[in-house]
């Protein structure tokens, strides 16, 4: 039986890696998650045959309740709210890893020292990922909508982490009483909260990705504690993949990971000097529609504002109308458009936009000089030319979409405010830019109606 269980775990680990590999192309991605799902089901079922298992009723109840609740949540969540949902489920995984550590550390019989060390490390990491992800969820969901920054915060946080490690040290040294285990978990839990609270909404994707990697690591450590190879492999693969993904995201936003975690930027509102003294110029919808209808090449730059207004379906309708008139339409996606890399692609895919119309930053930027009209919908910081020119700007150096190089720019924007990073945008006051103020869905709808009339 032992060998049968190990064999199934091996197959599961193989399916996880194969599944992640399949996800590297849009064509095979859906098959990939299904294979990984098969692996998960197999591993879960075979675990009921684990030698010495009891409490079967409790296990079944917990699986059914936990699985049922999260299934309903996952099916109901709007695509725009996906990042916080991923954060929530990730936090659950971190909590589960910490729970395994707690059960093992509270056991009466003494454990080998290497097992205790990894159990403690997994507990701390899992707990931080748990409470940190919950805060990330609460922030993105709007439950917590202010940042908590105070002097000496980093010092306090480091002290808290040090305290957690000291308690862990006592447990490792063999003073593993219930008290120290409780203190270890409490300090790690608090540390996760405290280190996430000061981080602003704009940086949250990086943090979620980091916690995803951390949960993977915690799962791998607890896998060692339990002698479970599937957990070690799957956890480590996610830990490594998540770390790489975190780096890619931080790079796309021109922020170092240390900066994200310890500086509290993204929370502050800093006014830049760009575009000062110049006025934004509005344009009527019918004029804008004529510009679009008689253009030969149009690039649409969607931002999170489009998604909030649920305008992506209307944008696709407008695109189809323009294509019928022979206009070449492309979508330009900044790596951090939406709330995290790839989020905007998901939102456009939901509206039915085929992925071969969608271009990455590197592929589309050379197109802008030959573009007749760029349509910026609810995007701001990712098209701000200050990132190229203004060394004083907080977003200086971030790669941007060079919309300002196209012949005309139409910006659909709800109001005159600044973007997520709180920086003024010189694009909006540029000579070739015209503004369409209003709700994105409403404006695009009117544009489509006008184009239809022409």
């Amino acid at each position: 039986m032992n060998n049968a269980i190990q064999a199934v775990y091996l197959v599961a680990a193989l399916l996880f890696i194969f599944g992640l590999k399949q996800m590297s192309s849009p064509k095979t991605a859906r098959g990939g998650i299904m294979w990984a799902g098969v692996g998960m089901v197999l591993a879960t079922l075979i675990t009921f045959l684990y030698p010495g298992m009891t409490n079967f009723l409790l296990i079944v109840i917990a699986v059914v309740v936990g699985g049922g609740v999260s299934y309903v949540l996952a099916r109901r969540v709007a695509m725009t709210d996906m990042p916080q949902m991923i954060a929530l489920f990730n936090g659950m995984g971190g909590g589960a890893a910490a729970a395994i550590a707690a059960v093992e550390l509270l056991r009466e019989e003494p454990l080998p020292v290497d097992v205790v060390v990894l159990a403690v490390l997994g507990a701390v990491i899992g707990m931080v990922a748990f409470s940190g992800s919950l805060i990330a969820f609460a922030k993105l969901q709007g439950i917590i909508n202010r940042s908590f920054v105070f002097p000496g915060q980093n010092v306090l946080n480091l002290l808290m982490l040090a305290a957690a490690l000291v308690f862990g040290g006592f447990i490792i040294a063999g003073h593993g009483s219930g008290l120290f285990v409780a203190l270890l978990f409490a300090t790690a839990f608090l540390f996760g909260i405290m280190m996430t609270l000061p981080i602003g909404g704009a940086d949250m994707p990086v943090v979620i990705s980091l916690y995803n990697a951390l949960t993977g690591l915690a799962v791998a450590f607890e896998g060692y504690v339990l002698g479970n190879a599937a957990m070690i492999v799957a956890g480590t693969v996610v830990g490594a993949a998540g770390t790489l993904l975190t780096q890619l995201m931080a790079k796309a936003m021109n922020r170092s990971l240390g900066n994200v975690l310890f500086s509290g930027f993204g929370a502050k509102v800093e006014a830049g000097a760009a575009g000062e003294g110049k006025e934004m110029r509005a344009i009527e919808v019918d004029d804008a529609a004529i510009q679009l209808a008689y253009a030969s090449k149009v690039v649409i730059v969607p931002g999170y504002g489009m998604a909030v207004a649920q305008a992506q379906h209307k944008v696709w309708s407008l695109t189809q109308l323009l294509e019928q008139r022979g206009v070449e339409v492309k979508f330009a996606i900044h790596p951090v458009a939406g709330r995290m890399p790839g989020h905007m692609n998901v939102l456009l895919a939901e509206a039915g936009v085929p992925y071969d119309l969608i271009y990455d930053l590197e592929d589309i930027n050379e197109d802008f000089p030959t573009t007749d009209v760029s349509v910026v919908i609810g995007a701001n910081d990712v098209v701000n030319p200050a990132a190229r020119t203004d060394t004083a700007s907080p977003i200086y150096g971030m790669p941007i979409l060079d919309c300002d190089c196209s012949k005309n720019v139409l910006v659909i924007k709800r109001g005159r405010g600044t973007g997520f990073a709180g920086v003024e945008n010189a694009l909006f006051t540029a000579d070739n830019t015209r503004m369409l103020f209003g709700d994105a869905q409403d404006v695009v709808n009117k544009l489509a109606a006008e184009v239809k009339k022409l």
Binding site: F16, A29, I59, I61, V63, M85, G216, V219, T236, G342
Partner: protein
């Protein structure tokens, strides 16, 4: 269960880490969000460990913590799968998407996720 000790575990860590790195480094940006979600699902394997922890729990306290662990692990695995699957089922190339948009249902889908 079979013992995985010291250096054997280190070798597993090492190879799995390189595997994770290599697998992800070829993923296009458009799939980053589903991929983060997919890797989030994969560490849902923690469910298996939590089941073992609860399965061998003896005291009431161990049972309670183990129960919470299985509950959270199941949420991670099932929720992670459901959101990833939902995102990936929408990725379609131009031909298929065109057909889907031609059908009357494309308008009706709007606001379906409120």
């Amino acid at each position: 269960m079979s013992e995985i000790t010291g250096f054997t575990a280190l070798y597993i860590f090492l190879l799995a880490a390189f595997t994770g790195y290599a697998v992800i480094s070829r993923v296009p940006v458009i799939l980053h969000t589903p991929l983060m979600s997919g890797s989030n699902f994969v560490h849902g394997i923690v469910l298996v460990g939590a089941m073992v922890a609860l399965g061998v729990a003896e005291t009431t306290l161990e049972q309670i913590i183990g129960f919470v662990g299985v509950l959270l692990g199941a949420m991670n695995a099932v929720g992670g799968y459901a959101v990833t699957e939902r995102m990936l089922e929408m990725f379609k190339p131009a031909k298929e998407a065109g057909e889907a948009a031609g059908a009357p249902s494309s308008e009706g889908r709007e606001g379906g996720n409120e």
